[in-house]
Amino acid sequence: DAGVTQSPTHLIKTRGQQVTLRCSPKSGHDTVSWYQQALGQGPQFIFQYYEEEERQRGNFPDRFSGHQFPNYSSELNVNALLLGDSALYLCASSLVFITTEAFFGQGSTLTVV
């Protein structure tokens, strides 16, 4: 079992550009949540996807959008990048109808210059 995998691991983008981050959930999991962790801070919930729909959303602007595919993998898209978007982006997978803890991926470190 490969667990939760994310790509790319690191990337550098310029202000105003767009970025797409990818997440493959743990085998058997159907729910993917995305978190943003700024340096020195705790992770903040961005949104959660289940059955290819956004199920819950945190306090993030519309520049942050996502998608879930039929195989449960997910993408996080950020448009019009700002310097403040520089952070570690974590993906967590879980089962929506079973009480369980989430499993986190290794994260994607985004640097906006």
């Binding site: 949540s33 978190y35 974590l90 989430a102």
Partner: protein, 111 residues
Amino acid sequence: ELKVEQNPLFLSMQEGKNYTIYCNYSTTSDRLYWYRQDPGKSLESLFVLLSNGAVKQEGRLMASLDTKARLSTLHITAAVHDLSATYFCAVELDTGNQFYFGTGTSLTVIP
């Protein structure tokens, strides 16, 4: 807005000593998680506490939950260098696995 506060934010302790990290949260929840994060790494699950009075222990770490006081503690016994990391508590609302994380406690164990 749910707030999750940890203290201390930074903790430097000598090997062999005991200490407790506190996690306070501002709304009703009986689901509390503790995670460990090493520099540049992802989150490693330590404990899942799902009811009032829950206590779990693993090695030198013990976590407890008091839902009435909205307080969880992570107790470290006889600290060793390998425990140096940042520790986060996270509160889950409902059962949707949407976590609200604390500010984190950066622990350094000094030989």
